[in-house]
């Protein structure tokens, strides 16, 4: 029954949204094109021109900046990437001594970056989505507003402060937990090895990282959850769904790709985090999946750059910039994957709002439900409350 609901509800909305959009935009476009021109005459207003060129300029500016950064990374990174590290005198010393080529150096760093971010995501994403859900669907309005404000405030905390918090609070806090894991679950490779006594582990770093990505995940998912059509929710409730069933059947399907993109944006934040990681984790350039050791924490690219930049010689600096280029490439890849998931979720692409409703399988819909809702949607312009009450009345 409730399955029918979900599959049935969204499809009419598509029609309504689309028709709304079409009916709205078509005449408007015409009006602006013909009427506007004839009324105002052919003279171009200076305000329009200035604003147009300013906004175009800004758009071009950001493209130029991005291209410039990419170009800078490539040009600066290439000499170290192609150099022979085992013979080059300025690379065969200091922190680049042990590596024969660039890839040997950047490989473990790439791994460490992805690994620490993945743990942060595993911890942070469910909590972030949970907070967003609480704010959007469970909390009383006043509490929701306050909580949302607090979570957004987290984003304003400098990462140095998070780093200090990690050192002073999280490290000792996780110590007994790490020891317990090591003693009892040490046979799982994740928790194996010589357990840390100072708490300077990748686990501590990732826990702090997960807190740092909370604001992004929470605020984006909250917005998406709030956009769930009231119609769907009320319909689900009216059909006897509990609050949780309503969220599962109406909110989650609607917000699915939004959650994915929120999570991936959080991942992007985690990938690039420097200061907190540099301060908390005791790094080593190696590939290890152990979470609670002192000497086997895989270093991340960003932290590695921050730690070694001041002592780097020219070519070593270029090697670090080369690792930065790799980070740039992964971040780009993460964003592309996020885009891909979002567009695939929308089956046919287009804006965020339109794609959602096409997700469920429409043909399965129950005729009566469709009709009822279709009637409703025609009057949607009357306002949300009216629509909702109508929908409720109709489906009951």
């Amino acid at each position: 029954m409730s399955d029918d609901m979900t599959s049935a509800t969204p499809s009419p909305r598509t029609t309504s949204r689309d028709s709304l959009k079409n009916s709205g935009s078509a005449p408007q476009g015409g009006g602006a094109g013909n009427g506007g021109a004839s009324l105002r005459g052919s003279r171009v207003r200076p305000g329009d021109l200035i604003f147009h060129s300013l906004s175009t300029g800004s758009a071009i500016f950001i493209m130029v900046i991005l291209a410039g950064v990419a170009l800078f990374l490539i040009i600066q990174g290439i000499p170290a990437i192609v150099a022979d590290w085992s013979t080059d005198p300025s690379l065969h010393e200091g922190f680049t001594l042990a590596y024969n080529n660039f890839w040997q150096y950047v490989g473990p760093l790439l791994y460490g970056t992805l690994f620490s971010s993945a743990i942060a995501l595993v911890i942070g994403a469910p909590i972030g989505i949970g907070i967003a859900l609480f704010i959007s669907h469970y909390a009383p309005r006043r509490v929701a507003g306050f909580l949302g404000y607090i979570v957004d405030l987290l984003a304003a905390v400098p990462s140095v402060v998070f780093g200090l918090w990690g050192i002073i609070v999280i490290r000792p806090f996780l110590l007994p937990f790490s020891e317990w894991l090591n003693t009892n679950l040490g046979w799982i490779p994740l928790f194996g090895g010589q357990v840390s006594t100072t708490g300077s582990t990748i686990l501590a770093g990732s826990v702090v990282l997960s807190v740092m990505i909370l604001p992004i995940i929470t605020s984006i998912s909250r917005e998406i959850f709030l956009q769930t059509p009231r119609l769907h929710e009320e319909a689900a409730l009216a059909l006897g769904a509990t609050r949780w069933e309503m969220i599962r059947l109406a909110v989650f399907p609607y917000a699915k790709s939004g959650i994915v993109s929120a999570t991936l944006l959080g991942l992007g934040r985690a990938l690039g985090e420097t200061m907190a990681i540099a301060m908390i984790i005791s790094p080593a350039i190696l590939v290890s999946i152990r979470l609670i050791t002192e000497g086997e924490n895989s270093q991340t690219i960003a932290a590695n750059i921050a730690l070694n930049f001041p002592i780097a010689s020219t070519l070593q600096r270029q090697a670090l910039i080369g690792t930065g280029l790799m980070l740039f490439v992964i971040s780009l890849a993460v964003n592309i994957i996020a885009r891909y998931i979002v567009t695939r979720g929308s089956a046919g692409g287009g804006g965020k709002k339109r794609k959602r409703p096409t997700l469920p399988i429409t043909p399965m819909s129950d005729t009566s439900a469709t009709t009822t809702l279709d009637i409703v949607t025609e009057e949607q312009k009357l306002g949300r409350i009216a629509v909702n009450s109508r929908a409720e009345g109709a489906s009951v």
């Binding site: 006594t197 100072t198 301060m279 002192e294 000497g295």
Partner: protein, 371 residues
């Protein structure tokens, strides 16, 4: 809009430059070249001294600038400790600083790079700060720990892994050493302290310590922490930890006594560090007139009253400044630092050791060459 901002910034910079030039043109050259430092009058100086680099010098620089600006009321001293030695030298070479604070003197390539800033007369390294590298540890029930250079090298190269290892027990017959595993805490960022310490290990325990000395910690598997503060907090937080840090920053942690003369273990002391430095340091060969870069031979530290690991840190500056007024300012400040008063200010407020008087006199002579 963007252009407006740029214009505004440029305007500001220009205005600041004019203001600075205006200020400094009124400054009269101070007599900072005389080795007798007690009676130097700094009150005529005015302007801003911008410097940065070594974080080991940070506490001392804070003490020095407070004491100096109390006498030279129109001078502002900005020392940026966040850069570290390497960053300090980089920024100074780029022309942002009047002098750089660095735990290691300029390398040949850095000296070459500095020629664009300083001109043909080059740059000089002045040893202005002396302290010891303390071996700090946190082992419940143990407050005194005696170690030889060999044992130290074995611990830090992870060849000794537990506290009750026979080598440590033999050196500490009275202490009750637990079976606790040793957690070795090192620096994850490049550091002059690391350079001094690895240099010490490779000179005094060459059979055990085979890694090349340098500012990056060479051995994987240790607990690597960012900055001296990171080491201190990790050693404090863990049990069975041992690490190395600039002595002025170790707070209440216990530090080990290290064998200098056969069978004698001496703890850190300000006087012991000065004595050790006087015995071990000699002027490194340099092509630049007035350069006082030091070569420290740790194997010469054999006195029972000496501390084994002295750490020296430099002020690096051009012999020829772009503006004479700025040279006068920098000379005044560094002259103050390299005076008996300056050294005792640092000893009192930052807990550092004092540069030997004979070397202080040499620094004053070198400063006289700066113009």
């Amino acid at each position: 809009m963007k252009f407006k901002n740029v214009a505004a910034t440029t305007g500001l910079v220009v205005a600041a430059a004019i203001a600075l030039a205006g200020c400094s043109s009124t400054a009269t050259p101070a007599a900072s070249s005389t080795p007798t430092t007690a009676a130097v009058d700094y009150s005529a100086l005015s302007g801003t001294i911008t410097a940065g680099g070594s974080s080991a010098q940070a506490n001392a620089q804070a003490a020095w600038s407070t004491a100096f600006t109390a006498q030279a009321k129109n001078v502002v001293v900005n020392y940026d400790k966040s850069q570290g030695s390497g960053g300090g030298v980089t920024n100074w070479t780029a022309g942002s600083y009047d002098f750089a604070g660095s735990d290691s003197p300029l390398k040949a390539e850095q000296q070459t790079a500095a020629a664009t800033l300083c001109g043909p007369t080059g740059a000089i390294n002045l040893p202005i700060y002396l302290d010891g590298v303390a071996i700090i540890f946190n082992l419940p029930g143990v407050t005194n720990l005696n170690l030889t250079a060999d044992t130290l090298a074995k611990i830090f190269s992870l060849k000794i892994t537990t506290w009750n290892d026979p080598a440590i027990v033999a050196e500490n017959p009275t202490a009750t050493l637990p079976t606790t595993a040793i957690t070795t805490v090192t620096r994850s960022d490049g550091s002059g302290t690391t350079a001094t310490f690895t240099n010490y290990l490779s000179q005094t325990a060459p059979s055990v310590w085979t890694s090349a000395p340098g500012s990056a910690w060479p051995i994987a598997g240790t607990s690597a922490q960012k900055g001296t503060a990171g080491i201190v907090s990790a050693v404090t937080a863990g049990v069975g930890t041992i690490g190395y840090a600039d002595h002025s920053a170790i707070a209440k942690l216990s530090s080990a006594s290290i064998e200098t003369a056969k069978g004698t273990y001496s703890p850190f002391s300000v006087d012991g560090t000065s004595a050790a430095f006087a015995a071990a340091a000699s002027k490194a060969t340099s092509t630049v007139a007035g350069d006082l870069a030091q070569k420290v031979d740790f194997t010469k530290i054999t006195g029972a009253d000496m501390y084994a690991i002295p750490l020296v840190s430099y002020g690096i500056l051009c012999t020829t400044f772009k503006t004479p007024a700025q040279a006068t300012l920098a000379k005044g400040y560094l002259g103050f630092i390299a005076s008996a008063t300056g050294q005792s200010v640092a000893a009192k407020n930052a807990g550092s050791a004092q540069i030997p008087a004979s070397l202080l006199a040499e620094i004053q002579t070198s400063l006289a060459l700066v113009k």
